[in-house]
């Protein structure tokens, strides 16, 4: 997992900084973004293995970012994250190519497990609750 590069996107800056710091403490290369715009910008600048996306964000939303990633960077695995478990979002996400769907608040250990599974090519992950 050490060689992986993660991009964590959420509109809550406090959440992003905490997650990035915790990833760093575990020796994982994690980058944070607080909007869809910033995420797309970062994606253009560097390469990532996994993107963790909040569905609901002001401006460019998670699903739109996902659409762009699927089109431009099909090798990047995307994990969606939402504050409300809408089955519709889940379904759309999966159709657009997301590999997993998590409900907030996400436990970091769960997130890392999902990331690992996504990278190993296993579908799913704790999608429900």
């Amino acid at each position: 997992m050490d060689h992986l590069r993660l991009l964590f996107v959420d509109d809550e800056e406090e959440l992003v900084s905490a997650v990035v710091e915790r990833l760093e403490l575990r020796g994982i290369d994690g980058v944070g973004a607080t909007s869809g715009d910033e995420a797309l910008h970062l994606l253009r600048e560097g390469s990532f293995d996994v993107v963790i996306l909040d569905v609901k964000m002001p401006g460019i939303g998670g699903l739109e970012v996902l659409r762009t990633i699927s089109r431009r960077y099909p090798e990047i695995k995307v994990i969606l994250m939402t504050g409300h478990g809408s089955a519709k979002d889940n379904e759309i996400g999966r159709r657009l190519g997301a590999v997993a769907y998590l409900e907030k608040p996400v436990d970091l250990e769960d997130l890392l497990m999902t990331v690992e599974r996504a990278v190993n090519g296993e579908a799913g992950g704790p999608d429900g609750q």
Partner: protein
């Protein structure tokens, strides 16, 4: 499976609220008295409309029949009385005419000869078919008997002081009352006054056997039930009566008023029997002809007809009333059922709307809380990471414990918000054909330990040929686990839980889980589907049953609950059956 276990943990907390309200319970109940009032009005109105014409017709018939039958009974009686009156009058007039003929035909001197008088009696009796002349006497204007022929020695006797003498002198003719004469048999007298050429007068007086009068009456063609007799104006019998007394006795009936023809009255005699009395005054005599007919005989047909009429009326009225009572009962019952169905439907819709809006609110709140919760979660996690990774400090242990406590609280919050969202959101339902008995036995497997530990017995009752259901296996497990958990919490040690599977209707199967536990108060029954409704503050989220309700609705079924405090609770889940199966 984790999901189910979470659900079970939660419902156990929820238990005090127990089971469900009845979504089908009427929302707005029409008070019992309104139905009773309505029924009274329906019965009254229908009864009046149907019974009134019947009663009116019966009364009209009654009066008409009565009049017709009375006329039928009375008319022949009047005819008979009139005929008898005429024959009696004829009888008397014949005898008067005989005497009148004599006084004009014979000179006074001849009438004063006793032998001649005896011959005259004989000739009179011969000339009239029924003569009946017993004696004949000639009385002078001074009242003394001049000549007499008959069984007594009356010659020389003076009648000047007697009433009848003055009567004849004044009116010229006279018929006496009946008296006991010769050989103590009833007789009456006829007297005729004749003026003499010298200015005086004499009276020819004959005594007639009254037996002849009685015979006249008896030959008139009476019916065996009738009684006919003569009385005088003082109410003394002038001929014997079969039922009312002997000759010359007092008549126990009122003397009829004078009428030129026949008079008929209905009255009660001295023995209390109702009778018809037909009477006629006999012209030129003190006699009144009386004919008596018992009303029972006269109106016999009427009495039987009246009984039939009344019986018919009574039976018809009873039948009509019975039909009205039955019909109105049915009507009101149907109406009430319809009202109750409508109220139940209304209640259900209202309840669904309420749950839906609470669900939307809950989802909104949960979503808003999830974001800060996520931050708290990550910050606390970071704190824990830092404490664990960094150099050892004095408070290391307390810090770790504190952060753990924060993280546990976050987990609790997360559980609540996820349940809330689960209640509100559209669930993915994956239907498959399910053998409900198997499924329930599977679910019971989770509770085996508890049942064993608390000595709770569980029984199964499955109807034959029970169809399979079409439903979501995971959701159904959640639902039944939830309900069974409630049941387990409600029963005390050694309690019993019964599971019944049966047909609900053609398209549904019903799973009933009944316990003999504490039961639910009525006021709680109405509310236990509502999210956050719990009677044990702080111990549960109050979401278990609202989720159960939401799932069952989503699966195309319904829930109902019956409960009585102290007796137990019956929770029924109705599910659609499999079409293919």
């Amino acid at each position: 499976m984790t999901e189910i276990m979470q659900g079970s943990a939660e419902t156990r907390d929820l238990m005090p609220t127990a089971d469900l309200p009845e979504p089908e319970a009427p929302g707005r109940e029409v008070p019992e008295s309104a139905y009773r009032r309505l029924r009274r009005m329906v019965v009254l109105a229908t009864a009046i409309v149907s019974l009134l014409p019947l009663v009116i017709t019966a009364v009209i018939n009654y009066v008409q029949f009565h009049e017709a039958l009375q006329a039928e009974a009375v008319d022949p009686m009047a005819r008979l009385t009139l005929n008898t009156k005429r024959s009696l009058e004829l009888f008397l007039s014949e005898r008067r005419s005989g005497l009148t003929f004599l006084v004009y035909d014979r000179p006074f001197a001849e009438l004063c000869d006793r032998a001649a008088l005896t011959r005259v009696i004989s000739n009179l009796n011969r000339s009239l078919e029924v003569g009946a002349f017993v004696d004949l006497g000639v009385i002078g204007d001074d009242g003394s008997q001049i000549c007499y022929s008959g069984p007594f020695e009356l010659e020389g006797r003076n009648y000047r002081d007697q009433d009848w003498f003055h009567e004849v002198a004044r009116r010229g003719a006279y018929t006496s009352d009946i008296f006991l004469g010769f050989r103590n048999s009833p007789h009456f007298a006829i007297a005729i006054k004749h003026d003499r050429p010298d200015g005086g007068f004499y009276i020819l007086r004959a005594t007639i056997d009254a037996e002849m009068l009685s015979e006249q009456i008896l030959t008139a063609g009476l019916q065996p039930t009738d009684d006919v007799f003569l009385i005088n104006r003082q109410g003394i019998f002038q001929s014997p009566s079969r039922d009312y007394g002997e000759i010359l006795g007092q008549v126990p009936l009122p003397v009829p008023h004078y009428s030129p023809s026949v008079d008929i009255v209905e009255l009660e005699d001295d023995t209390g029997h109702t009778i018809f009395m037909s009477s006629a005054y006999i012209h030129n005599s003190p006699f009144i002809l009386v004919q008596i007919k018992p009303a029972r005989e006269a109106m016999g047909r009427w009495f039987s007809l009246r009984s039939e009429l009344l019986a018919f009326l009574f039976v018809s009225a009873c039948l009509i009333l019975a039909v009205i009572l039955w019909g109105s009962g049915q009507l009101i019952r149907r109406m009430r059922e319809a009202d109750e169905r409508r109220a139940a439907l209304y209640h259900q819709v209202e309840y669904s709307n309420k749950l839906a809006s609470i669900g939307r609110l809950a989802a909104g709140v949960a979503h808003e809380i999830n974001n800060p919760l996520a931050i708290i979660n990550e910050k606390a996690g970071l704190l824990l990471d830092l404490v664990t990774v960094g150099p050892e400090t004095d408070h290391q242990e307390r810090l770790v414990a504190t952060v753990d406590s924060i993280l546990r609280s976050v987990q609790r919050c997360k559980k609540v918000t996820h349940r809330l969202l689960g209640f509100a959101r559209h669930m993915d339902i994956q239907t498959e054909t399910i053998d409900l008995e198997n499924l329930l036995r599977e679910v019971l497997g989770f509770l085996e330990k508890e049942a064993e530990y608390r000595n709770v017995s569980v029984s199964f009752q499955v109807e034959d040929d029970l169809p399979t259901a079409v439903s979501d296996r995971g959701r159904l497990q959640q639902v039944f686990l939830n309900i069974l958990n409630n049941a387990f919490a409600a029963v005390s040690e050694g309690g019993h839980i019964g599971i019944e599977l049966a047909h609900e209707d053609a398209d549904h199967v019903a799973v009933t889980i009944a316990d003999d536990g504490v039961g639910i108060p009525r006021e709680h029954l109405q509310r236990i589907f509502e999210p956050f409704f719990t009677t044990k503050a702080g111990a549960g989220t109050g979401l278990g049953l609202s989720i159960t309700y939401g799932i069952v609705k989503k699966l195309g079924g319904g829930c109902r609950v019956e409960s009585e405090v102290g007796t137990g609770t019956r929770f029924t889940v109705v599910l659609p059956i499999s079409r293919e199966g």
